[in-house]
Amino acid sequence: AQSVTQLDSQVPVFEEAPVELRCNYSSSVSVYLFWYVQYPNQGLQLLLKYLSGSTLVKGINGFEAEFNKSQTSFHLRKPSVHISDTAEYFCAVSRNTGNQFYFGTGTSLTVIP
């Protein structure tokens, strides 16, 4: 079975500061990893995904994430956040067979002016 843990439910950060949103997963099989963002009153939007190859994945809006197999982590980072990054961020995992997604509980990022 798969599970996704997002340890931080809320992360406040000042504008232009760096941020890291943590995601850990557990799985007995190979998985694919995703980060989605949900702006207020909108649906989820893909930020980036790791399928294979380079462990550092770059996504939209200046975000990047690093896959660490030994630590079963896929943390999301941005070197300098903007007010517009205020949103809910979800980590998700899917198996290499079928395409059912398992989402974490989300991390609410609030960027403070």
Binding site: Y36, G43, L44, K49, T97, G98, N99, Q100, F101, T105
Partner: protein
């Protein structure tokens, strides 16, 4: 290209009433998903269609929830009768269905259901 459309955006009903949600996926997308997102939680998959066939409905409460995807395009999700714990945002998503677990899912804006 047009995104995933859902209606209504908001719905308020009393418990034991019935309700239906509609989803129109991105044109050409074979796979359609319905998720339930309870406040403070991540989305939970309720049902997944591949064209008009059900791939996974293991987490669908079948005593009260039903879904169909006639003709492999639009889909409706129904709750009958509704319970207080059904209050949530119901998200529809679609994907091409060509890449298995690597598929990007495209989400609609969701329907916020409040059961009183």
């Amino acid at each position: 290209e047009a995104g995933v459309a859902q209606s209504p955006r908001y719905k308020i009903i009393e418990k034991r009433q019935s309700v239906a949600f509609w989803c129109n996926p991105i044109s050409g997308h074979a796979t359609l998903y319905w998720y339930q997102q309870i406040l403070g939680q991540g989305p939970k998959l309720l049902i997944q269609f591949q064209n008009n066939g059900v791939v996974d409905d293991s987490q669908l409460p079948k005593d009260r929830f039903s879904a169909e995807r006639l003709k492999g395009v639009d889909s409706t999700l129904k709750i009958q009768p509704a319970k207080l714990e059904d209050s949530a945002v119901y998200l529809c998503a679609s994907s091409t269905g060509l890449a298995g677990g690597t598929d990007t899912q495209y989400f609609g804006p969701g329907t916020r259901l409040t059961v009183l």
